[in-house]
């Protein structure tokens, strides 16, 4: 018999609590196994036997369900390389089934794998930080946080790095804007390209680059314009720049063979500038081209849903909605699956790791 059960039985004797109450206290304190063992240890001729048996009958299915959920969640995390979270869920399995040697061995092996990966990433992070390679440092930090989201030190590091990156990007953006306003387009282009090295998704930098490129092409086509004073494009709004950046990103995504990313980016371009003709036209083309995939996406989502892979199901249906945004049936599927997923997410804690004040 486990120690909690012994302790609870001892407490039972001295405090006159009934076995059901004693087990219930353990249950409330999150010790399901202790509760179950306390109730199981009540002898049949005892007064509390019937009550204990009733609680056992209630708890055993819950026990079984939790083991399955923790196992499934652990496997998903493991497949995603989120080893700390996987280990935590496997350990919750072990908490309920301490004799599960296979899981125990797997946890020990995973813990060692995680430690080795973490050591390697830490070393790489130190190296790239010393070299002031902010882009690689961010990538490495992302990998570290994926591996161990509970490591509070990573959060602090991440904030510092974000600040450094933000400052570097803003400095280069400002330099680009200044050069752009002064008509020094080659210098502006260099600055905006430097921004894209730090933040490949920076749509404002992309937008500026697109305008600069457009102006260059127009000048080449009509050299007379070059002497014509201020360029009207240089007064484009930030939103227009961003829309252009999204549009360019969409074109690039399409070239990479990522039509759904392209659709998302065109939608953002239209959100920024609703009458962006290029974005609208491209979005229509993309949707027409992908229209044939909708049924297959819906069906694939249904299969994933039936296999309780809710995330995949939602992702597939979301893609279908990107192509066919008015499809009410798919919208309802997504709503239902999202609701179920939310319920499942209740079983997982937010991975942030920040101290809160207060006291008890």
């Amino acid at each position: 018999m486990r120690a909690p059960a012994i302790a609870s039985l001892a407490a039972l004797l001295v405090s006159c609590t009934t076995p059901v109450e004693s087990g219930q206290r353990l249950y409330q304190e999150g010790d399901r196994l202790g509760a179950l063992e306390t109730w199981r240890s009540v002898p049949p001729d005892s007064e509390g036997y019937t009550g204990a048996q009733a609680r056992i009958a209630e708890l055993e299915p819950e026990f079984e369900r939790l083991v399955q959920e923790y196992e499934q969640s652990a496997r998903e995390y493991e497949a995603q390389g989120r080893l700390t979270e996987a280990i935590l869920d496997y350990r919750l399995v072990l908490k309920l089934e301490p004799e599960d040697q296979a899981t125990f061995d797997h946890v020990q092996q995973l813990a060692r794998t995680r430690a080795a990966q973490k050591a390697e990433l830490e070393a790489r992070y130190a190296q790239v930080s010393n070299a002031r390679d902010l882009v690689l440092a961010r990538k490495t930090l992302e990998e570290l946080r994926r591996l161990d989201p509970f490591d509070a030190a990573l959060e602090t590091r991440s904030r510092l790095l974000d600040e450094q990156l933000g400052s570097a990007i803003e400095a280069k953006m400002q330099s680009g804007r200044d050069a752009f306003a002064a008509g020094d387009y080659p210098a502006a282009a260099r600055s905006f390209r430097a921004v894209l090295i730090l933040d490949a998704e920076n749509e404002a930098a992309r937008g500026y680059l697109s305008y600069i490129d457009t102006m260059r092409r127009e000048r080449e086509a009509a050299p007379m314009l070059a002497a014509g004073g201020a360029d009207p494009n240089s007064s484009a709004t930030d939103n227009e720049m961003r829309a252009e950046g999204f549009h360019l990103g969409a074109l690039a995504a399409e070239r990479r063979g990522e039509p759904y990313t392209a659709i998302r980016l065109e939608m953002r371009a239209i959100e920024a500038v609703p009458d962006h003709a290029g974005a609208r036209q491209h979005l229509q083309q993309l949707r027409r081209r992908q229209a044939g995939d909708v049924d297959a996406l819906v069906e694939a989502g249904r299969i994933a849903f039936s296999e309780e892979d809710l995330r995949t199901a939602i992702e597939l249906w979301d893609r279908a909605l990107l192509v066919d945004p008015d499809n009410e049936r798919v919208r309802a599927y997504v709503g239902r699956a999202s609701h179920q997923l939310e319920n499942l997410e209740l079983l997982r804690a937010a991975p942030a790791d920040t101290d809160a004040g207060g006291g008890s």
Partner: protein, 440 residues
């Protein structure tokens, strides 16, 4: 019903009302009675919603100098039934705050003790003349007390903390919020039990302490208003306390020496590991005894308190810097090294032989004879044998050997070796040669 009550002059209720001083006034009400309309209905009756368990009412005063005061009526529905709420003496007494019970004698059974949260009432007012003649009623107006406060937003619970869960949330936006009730349950569906009553709207964090290792909890919080009314709780949020370290792996016997067992194990990989504790379980004991406390880098320990030839087992546990301790490792059984002491009876006496363990640093041996008077040293010798020549037939002898190092430190004594010299023993007899080993 109230209309009925007021339908005729001099009803008991009206008489009771007239016997009461109106709120905030020492003026006694006249005897009220319904009469032909002489006064107009009061205008602009207003009732303020959203107040904490009270509904302030006000109306424009009637300027007619014959006005002696006002009577307020209250109903849970627009259609009634309206009941008397209060009588106010004075033409300018045009304010009343409904906090629940009616303000007339004997009417406490008609109104609630207090208003509750989110409760709606309808009100009418009518004036009466100085002689008690009641005028017509105003239009009914409705008002609602402040609803139960909404739960605070963004309840968060931080996982992976040692035996505690820090919680945080945004302050409640309800102006009547006065604090919070925090609850904890083992599942998202409960059962939830209250873990904190926080009586400050701006205290938006709490630490749930004293929890077990690797426990899953669900928390929810509700806002409490200044009157103690509690709103709906938030959706539960989940938190898991920090797990204890994993049990160490690969516990094994690294070396055995006389009186010493050396054990080793594979290092744990937890980053916040503080160290290990090696525990010994002797054959006859049920409880484990601590052997050594080690820092995280040390994965080898020596148990120097073992008897020669003793059977015992070991486990090791890991501890992190928060004091969380792992489950014990797998158990390792060991039989410690012994003296390999033996005795042989020959014609010249009892020949004792042992392993001198020179390679373990031992140099000499004390030969002890145990008698009922105690222990007596027979010899202090080098080498691995000694002959006890001074033995007598028909006597039982019990020997121990203790090995010593050059610095005088000694190993634990050997176990007792017992040998009986037969009555017939006088000299060497073929076939009587006995090769004895320690008993027990």
């Amino acid at each position: 019903m109230a209309a009925g009550l007021l339908a005729c002059a001099g009803t008991p209720e009206l008489r009771a009302l007239t016997e009461r001083f109106s709120p905030g006034s020492q003026t006694k009400l006249p005897e009220l009675h319904d009469a032909e309309p002489g006064l107009p209905a009061p205008q602009a009756l207003r009732a303020s919603s959203g107040q904490l368990r009270e509904i302030p009412l006000r109306w424009d005063p009637l300027l007619d100098e014959s006005v002696g005061g006002y009577v307020l009526e209250r109903a849970p529905e627009r259609q009634g039934p309206f009941e008397l709420l209060a009588g106010l003496a004075g033409r300018n007494a045009t304010v009343y705050v409904d906090r629940g019970p009616g303000s007339w004698p004997g009417a406490s059974n008609r109104g609630p003790e207090t208003l509750s949260d989110g409760q709606t009432f309808f009100y009418r007012v009518r004036a009466f003349e100085r002689d008690g003649a009641l005028g017509p009623r105003s239009e009914a107006v409705a008002a609602r007390t402040a609803p139960p406060p909404d739960p605070p937003a963004e309840l968060r619970a931080w996982s992976h903390r040692p035996r505690l869960v820090p919680l945080g949330w945004e302050p409640a936006t309800d102006v009547h919020a006065a604090g919070y009730v925090l609850e904890r349950g083992p599942t998202p569906d409960g059962p939830f039990e209250r873990i904190a009553n926080i009586q400050d709207r701006w205290q938006t964090s709490w630490v749930d302490e004293g929890l077990g290792d690797l426990r899953v909890f669900f928390y929810r919080i509700s806002t409490v208003n200044g009157a103690g009314g509690r709103g709906e709780p938030t959706q539960p949020v989940r938190a898991v306390t920090k797990p204890e370290p994993l049990p160490p792996l690969g516990l094994r016997v690294v070396a055995r020496r006389l009186g010493e067992n050396e054990l080793g194990w594979d290092p744990n990989v937890e980053q916040d590991l503080k160290g290990y504790r090696l525990l010994r379980i002797r054959a006859a004991a049920s409880a484990a005894e601590p052997v050594a406390e080690l820092r995280r880098k040390a994965t080898v320990a020596v148990d120097a308190e073992v008897d020669p030839g003793e059977r015992l087992s070991y486990v090791v546990v890991a501890r992190d810097r928060h004091g969380l301790e792992s489950a014990p490792s797998g158990r390792v059984e060991v039989e410690s090294e012994g003296y390999e002491l033996s005795a042989t009876l020959r014609e010249d006496g009892v020949h004792l032989q042992w392993n001198p363990r020179v390679d373990e640093g031992y140099e000499r041996a004390r030969i002890l004879l145990e008698t009922w008077l105690g222990s007596r040293e027979l010899a202090h010798v080098t080498g691995s044998t000694w002959v006890h020549t001074d033995v007598e037939s028909g006597t039982r002898y019990r020997y121990r050997v203790v090995l010593e190092r050059p610095d005088g430190s000694a190993a634990r004594p050997s176990r007792l070796l017992e040998i009986s010299v037969p009555n017939s023993w006088t000299s060497w007899l073929p076939g009587q040669d006995s090769n004895l080993r320690p008993s027990g």
